[in-house]
């Protein structure tokens, strides 16, 4: 067996590629300022969407680590450096939110462009929004952003620090520490992620509410995270890294992609069917805005890409064990996740100005480039496999 002491070399070519993606994204955004003139809401909606998109994958990466430790999972020990590396991206979305908050001082920008409830005059005239104002007000919302990110970033850093320390000293000490950390983090993650989904996405339509909303967002994020992990492994393997990772690991990640795509559909249907069936005026506006007019094409395309595609393309065993096919399905799923959240964010922010143009592509590339850079950079900073992980042996000999 090849040596397990292996580090990823972040070559200047790759580095320039990722920086280039971000720079091109930035140029497109700047061009958008000219082309999509005065469409501030669309600008900020795209900022939020793409910022959240890559954020969601990196926070779910931390929760994945927590689940692995609590479940005594062995198969994933050999690939856990990838979610670890992904989690180092978290400070950037935090800065993204700081920018959204900072921009709010200009009227019509930042939060004020995204959230109706930030406008005092509207809230005062509306008894429902007044009733929600103890929760939905700018100050508390900003405090919550800080609290969420404080918990997430601290825990993510702790995982990585413990895991790297374990590489040096071995023993069970740091394993136990991570189990304890997981027991603390996972419940905290459950609460903070739910509230974050309510704060950032659901409150875009402040009159509307759905208790399952956060679960649905989480399901999407989980599929996205699994997809990114699987793609990263395949790309690393194609570049002669991590040869001990086999199609068995990809198969397991693929099963997660498949299963949680179905789970996403389940939560999607729970929300849609119950609201459609009960037909209450408090709840239906969400779907009224999305199932009619031009939105209806995207609405059904969303179901097709997020459910039908992975369901049919990933059903067979061999499909989950063929790297190039995984790359293809992964690309479809990454697109699908973008569309899923696009439909949540756009109708009540960008509204009639929404489309697929410079802003959409620009912001996606801008944040995507930074995400890839941070992932590759962090992979290069630690050994690609946690050599002293007590369950590593199971992962190295993993067979499905």
């Amino acid at each position: 067996m090849e040596s397990l002491n292996q580090k990823f070399t972040f070559t200047s070519k790759t580095r320039n590629l990722f920086i280039g993606i971000s720079v091109v994204g930035l140029v497109l955004i700047l061009a958008g300022l000219v082309v999509h003139k005065d469409q501030y809401a669309r600008f900020w909606a795209n900022f939020l969407l793409s910022n959240f998109y890559f954020f969601a994958f990196s926070i779910v990466a931390v929760s994945f680590l927590a689940i692995q430790y609590l479940a005594h999972a062995g198969w994933s020990a050999g690939i856990k450096r990838i979610p670890e590396a992904m989690s180092t991206y978290l400070p950037i979305p935090f800065i993204g939110f700081l920018i959204i908050i900072g921009a709010s001082f200009m009227h019509g920008h930042g939060m004020t462009a995204l959230y109706e409830w930030t406008h005092e005059s509207i809230v005062k005239a509306d008894p429902v929004l007044t009733g929600k104002s103890p929760y939905l007000n700018s100050t508390f919302w900003i405090i919550r952003v800080f609290v969420y990110f404080a918990i997430w970033i601290l825990c993510a850093r702790a995982y990585r620090a413990y895991s790297r320390k374990e590489d040096e000293v071995g023993g069970m000490e740091y394993y136990h520490k991570q189990v304890k950390l997981s027991a603390g983090f996972l419940p905290a993650f459950g609460v903070t992620f739910c509230l974050a989904a309510f704060d950032w996405f659901m409150s875009i339509q402040p009159h509307w509410y759905s208790t399952i909303f956060a679960v649905n967002v989480w399901a999407s994020a989980f599929v996205g995270f699994m997809t990114v992990t699987n793609i990263t492994i395949i790309l690393l393997k194609k570049n002669n890294y991590m040869q001990w990772v086999s199609e068995n690991h990809m198969h397991d990640l693929g099963k997660f992609m498949f299963a949680f795509s179905v789970f996403w559909t389940y939560t999607w249907l729970s929300q849609f069917l119950l609201i459609w069936y009960a037909n209450l005026p408090e709840e239906t506006p969400y779907y009224l805005a999305r199932m009619w007019g031009n939105w209806k094409y995207l609405f059904f395309l969303n179901l097709f890409l997020n459910f039908a595609c992975p369901f049919l393309m990933f059903m067979m065993r061999d499909a989950k064990r063929t790297p190039n096919w995984i790359l293809f399905v992964g690309a479809v799923l990454l697109m699908a996740k973008y569309l899923d959240w696009y439909i949540i964010v756009m109708p009540f922010t960008a509204g009639h100005t929404s489309g697929f143009g410079l802003y959409e592509i620009g912001f996606y590339m801008f944040f995507g480039g930074m995400f890839c850079y941070s992932l590759a950079y962090s992979l290069s900073k630690a050994n690609l496999v946690p050599t002293k992980h007590p369950y590593l042996i199971e992962s190295l000999h993993h067979e499905v």
């Binding site: 929760y135 459950g190 009159h207 399952i212 679960v215 119950l274 009960a278 007590p390 042996i393």
Partner: protein, 502 residues
């Protein structure tokens, strides 16, 4: 062959070999039942008999013998129905979903959990059927062709979806359970000492011969059934939740109901498995197979699903306030501080607060504590359904329709009757059928006991991964290179293997 880390807790303890597995599992079916068995069985029979009396009473005198009224049309009946259906979820979760997750600890507990599922679903089914009043018209549930115009069932109603979901679930669970039993029943047959016993078990095992072709089809059918069961187990409680959530009743109509009901069902199902197995493993001397590790794993699932249920309670409460919908807000304040406040706080205490004790390893690994906590969960989950059903109904939109609900002795008796019925089946099962899936446990026996430093896990209660780490010399830098040999095992530790006859 896959390799297990030395620190992974073995799933089979003690001085066990393939022969002793057969002895330990088949033994109870071959000896005369113990006094404890007769004692339990008699009590179950009494409860069952009283249940028959109460069900008969209800059929003779009608639904008026219950405490329901115009406002509260669902009371004990549907509460018990949902409670039993929930309990029936652990079996299929263990057999199907844990199979997909390759959790091998399921092998010792799947048989009894699946049996429990089947009995619980039978209990559940009684309530909606008898709630019809005219049980002799029960076939009108079904889309049978008839001479009186269109079909009877209302296909728009989730109550009808329930009929299909539950009957499908019952059928698949039964087939899955029975398929798994075939090789084990054949083992019992092969050990039979009388012609009569041989014939009965031969019939029950469908003449299983253990040929390669039998095993091949057995494995294939099991895998297909696992694939079918996984969406089924999620769909059953999803549809039960639709019974409530498709309505417009405050407290019932909320979109988180489907996954929240499923989590709650798994929660209560595992609690019932705990309740049964903590006792059964001692009385039937199965501690080597249903180990502390098994109980701990189930306790972890209870903590997980209990926390999910807790977060769902929180979400519901928060969203009721956030919605700004005053009926919804009233429904939730009334839950906590209305006339049925005691039911709500019993639910919160038993479902959210006490299971948190499972965060402590000592408690997770103490059978006595587990037993007590599992009873708490059983009670809490019953109250959850009572809270959802009765509390949401008893304050109608018009204050003139407000009412209270008190169950009558008939309803209470029917509930007791189903508990008796459930245990009646379970005692019979434990006496005549192999309570552990022998064939499956034998498959993991070698893997789970090989390569583990013996000193790390004896005596039973005190498995210590740190000690295992030391004994296996995992700190040695060459450990990973040398450890590959573990999968061939240290054959000197093995006992003489009996020829596999199953």
């Amino acid at each position: 062959m896959s390799i297990e880390s030395p620190i992974r807790e073995p799933l089979i303890f003690g001085d066990v070999n393939l022969h002793t597995i057969t002895e330990d599992v088949c033994g109870p079916t071959e000896h005369k039942p113990t006094k404890a068995w007769w004692f339990g069985f008699t009590i179950a029979c009494c409860g069952f008999a009283f249940g028959i009396f109460c069900f008969t009473w209800e059929v003779m005198f009608g639904i008026g013998t219950w405490g329901l009224n115009k406002t509260i049309g669902w009371g004990f009946d549907i509460t018990n129905f949902v409670w039993w259906i929930g309990i029936g979820h652990a079996g299929t979760l263990i057999s199907a979903i844990l199979l997909l997750f390759r959790q091998e600890w399921r092998n010792s507990i799947n048989r009894s959990a699946e049996a429990m599922t089947i009995f619980a679903v039978m209990c559940a089914g009684m309530f909606p059927i008898f709630h019809m009043g005219r049980v002799w018209n029960a076939h009108m549930f079904l889309p049978l062709p008839n001479d009186f115009g269109p079909l009877w069932p209302n296909f728009n109603s989730p109550l009808l979806w329930d009929v299909f979901a539950i009957s499908t679930y019952f059928t698949v669970s039964l087939v899955f359970w029975y398929t798994g039993l075939l090789p084990d029943l054949a083992s019992i047959r092969d050990r039979a000492t009388t012609k009569m016993r041989w014939s009965i078990y031969n019939f029950l095992s469908f003449g299983w011969t253990g040929s390669v072709r039998h095993w091949n089809r057995f494995e294939l059918v099991s895998l297909i059934l696992a694939g079918i069961s996984t969406p089924l187990v999620l769909s059953v409680h999803t549809i039960v939740s639709f019974d409530f959530a498709t309505s417009v009743i405050p407290g019932w109509h909320t979109t988180i109901f489907p996954p929240y009901f499923v989590a709650g069902a798994i929660f209560s199902g595992f609690a019932m498995v705990h309740t049964l197995l903590v006792v059964a493993r001692v009385t039937m001397k199965l501690e080597n197979y249903i180990t502390i590790g098994h109980l701990e794993a189930m306790a972890k699932i209870i903590t997980l699903t209990g926390s999910m249920v807790g977060i769902a309670y929180g979400t519901e409460f928060f969203m009721a306030w956030y919605s700004g919908y005053k009926y919804e807000q009233f429904a939730f304040i009334n839950r906590a501080f209305g006339p049925y406040w005691w039911a709500y706080w019993s639910m919160i205490t038993c479902n959210v607060i006490t299971p948190q004790l499972f965060w402590f390893r000592k408690i997770r690994r103490s059978p006595v504590a587990i037993f007590i906590l599992s009873i708490f969960v059983n009670i809490g989950m019953w109250f959850e359904r009572f809270v959802i059903i009765v509390i949401s109904l008893h304050r109608d939109f018009l204050p003139s329709s407000w009412a209270m609900y008190v169950p009558t002795w008939v309803e209470a008796g029917m509930f007791i009757g189903t508990i008796g019925f459930f245990f009646w089946w379970f005692f019979l099962f434990a006496k005549f059928f192999p309570v552990i899936a022998m064939a499956e446990v034998k498959m993991i026996w070698k893997k789970t006991t090989t390569g583990k430093p013996a000193g790390a896990f004896l005596p039973l209660q005190d498995y210590d991964p740190d000690k295992a780490y030391q004994l296996a010399d995992m700190n040695n830098p060459n450990y990973l290179d040398s450890a590959g040999g573990h999968d061939h095992g240290h054959s000197e530790h093995h006992h003489t293997e009996e020829p596999i006859t199953h």
